[in-house]
Symmetry: C2
């Protein structure tokens, strides 16, 4: 069984340092402790070429970390890169190709006008749909309108995702935003793509996070606190937005979760905590339904009852989610695994959920054209 045996963050946010420094900040505590054991480095990163004029980031990083002989590669899946990188690390360990894999998720995106960042990220849309001018934020607005039309949630319940996740982020020393926001402030903030407002979107962030992915046996011999990955599932959905039957459900999220639960022998109801890909507020709600935590059309009610709050029955995005923790593209999926690991091993500090023994994460690419889900357990 493959386990996570260490996780460490470099704070997400606007960082002055370059991508090497941020990546190293996240990796060094793990490298210092496990240097002789690490035999593969998987770097989760999407846009080092576009944002940083760097290619082969993985090789430059092993050199930077003085791990010159350790093999490495870069894994990319846009916003879902982290899930793919963890899946590669898991497969390398499970197949015996490697024993102890250092996963580094990193992106350095700030320092450019938002328009340029948005344009770079929109390069993941099908060329024929890019011509029409949609960007990822506007697609989330379409989804919100469809969801409201179809299920009549209160508008406030959607905004409450941002309130909840900013509350959690304020408890997370690695989050981009570390202050609470009131419902009133969210609901009166600048409209980005009608009806969604600025506090309902993740910010553009720099950041990095590292994991040690290893076997359960190695983890035990290291004496590390560890969490097992008991199920993984990957799936795609069409990249074409216009070809989708529904805008209130994401095929790849649903299918990847189904595979991960089937592989683990667990069901959504068995989970204690979850990290979902809340690039926009509505996405947390839609995904919470698609993976099976709530019935379709009813996920928004959990925001009204407080069920998914950090002190609720089933906390979602205890890390602050992308919404408050930030979304350095290549780092985000790795950060989800890191958060579940920290929670399940009692290392989540002020945001610690008591007695959490099972967890779920879904790392989503683009606007849902690819997802990787994981189920985690500790004894």
């Amino acid at each position: 069984m493959v386990s996570i045996a260490a996780a460490n963050f470099a704070r997400f946010g606007k960082r002055e340092e370059d991508i090497f420094a941020i990546s190293s900040e996240s990796a060094l505590p793990i490298v210092d402790k496990y240097r002789d054991a690490i035999d593969f480095v998987v770097v989760s990163n999407s846009y080092s070429g576009e944002f940083n004029d760097i290619s082969g980031l993985n090789n430059l990083l092993t050199t930077h970390l003085a791990m010159d002989s350790v093999p490495s590669m870069r894994v990319d899946n846009t916003s879902g890169s982290g899930g793919s990188a963890v899946l590669v690390a898991k497969s390398l360990v499970a197949s015996g190709e490697a024993e102890n894999v250092l996963v580094i998720g990193a992106e350095k995106m700030t320092g450019y006008p938002t328009k340029r960042s948005t344009r770079i990220i929109a390069s993941l849309l099908p060329p024929e749909e890019r011509l029409g001018g949609p960007s990822l934020p506007s697609l989330a607005a379409f989804m919100t309108r469809s969801y409201i039309r179809e299920f009549s949630p209160s508008r406030e319940s959607i905004a409450k995702v941002a309130v909840k996740n900013h509350h959690n982020g304020a408890l997370n020393p690695y989050a981009h935003f570390q202050s609470e926001v009131s419902l009133e402030k969210v609901m009166t903030s600048k409209v980005i793509a009608d009806p969604l407002r600025i506090f309902e979107y993740c910010p553009v962030s720099d950041g990095a996070v590292s994991l040690l992915v290893t076997s359960e046996e190695n983890s035990r011999s290291f004496g590390s606190k560890s969490a097992r990955i008991t199920g993984a599932g990957a799936s795609s959905g069409t990249s074409s937005i216009t070809a989708r039957e529904s805008l209130v459900s994401i095929d790849s999220v649903r299918e990847s979760a189904r595979k991960a639960f089937r592989a683990s022998g667990k069901s959504p109801g068995d989970m204690d905590i979850a990290e979902l890909h809340d690039m926009a507020s509505i996405l947390e709600i839609v995904e919470s339904e698609d993976v099976g935590f709530f019935k379709k059309g009813e996920g928004w009610k959990a925001l009204e009852t407080g069920e998914t709050s950090i002190d609720g029955r089933f906390p979602i995005n205890t890390s602050g989610g992308l919404n408050s923790k930030g979304h350095p593209i290549g780092a985000s999926g790795v950060a989800q695994t890191a958060e579940i690991y920290l929670q399940l091993t009692g290392q989540a500090g002020k945001r610690q959920v008591k007695n959490a023994a099972t967890g779920f994460s879904v790392s989503m690419a683009g606007f849902g054209n690819n997802s990787t889900s994981f189920v985690y357990e500790v004894d």
Copy 2:
């Protein structure tokens, strides 16, 4: 045991089509035959962002191929991307995470001034060394000078790599260059980085190639001609050129080959054919020594004796190598595996080597800061 069960090329060269069309051209014959079986797509590509203004190429490709639910990811390791992608596919199959993986290696690089291409690719060099202005071609020239100083080969023997590989390329319908070149023409062609001349470098190419990576059992049940991957090895070396002890040996090539041979239980002397990463003529010679086919300093003699010619005792780069087949970055490593597969299964047409039952390939990143080696066998 993991096997290659199919390979198909889209011709390398200057192509008018976009990267989707070229990739599909290589993948469709495999997709048509194995559509229901393929459960993962691994795309080997480095520079779709920089050259084509496209991110998330893997997801756009599954949509383009009407494989909307099949999960995918992009694997990058600059010039060595293909080796990493095949390693990921092998690990996905060996770990049970996938059964039948379609690997698509693709790059679309032409249409820009060579200076711009060279600058983009130089973004893989350490930032502090980029300031000094070296490019990959100039590093190969340094290597050539060091090799000549240390081992006194005839200058012609180095140029003969280009003569041999152009001869092989002329037999390969998928090669960028399909005509022979005389030693005299090579030796009097334009100097690119003294002492290396233009025919000794790979061209800038577009191209794609696809593989089906599966289990031996599945391959048998498909009734496919197949070749087993009996050993794999990955290793890095420092990205810093100035930090290297020697410029006539490449640590990552040596170490990755050692690992692959150890894993397979075979030795270099057991191999019938090999594909090496001949971005420049000198590299074929240096690598042929580093992986253990010849003693250090003696690889050049094989070009004099004709030992590594297609009708010699031990043919190297029957495909034409990067030198003549071309070097669409993300495709090159996948193309090596494809060539060995075609040779070992008797599908190599005019360049077929008789009775080849074992093969070796090394896919190298950058100027050797990362390599992935494979040993292949058929019964």
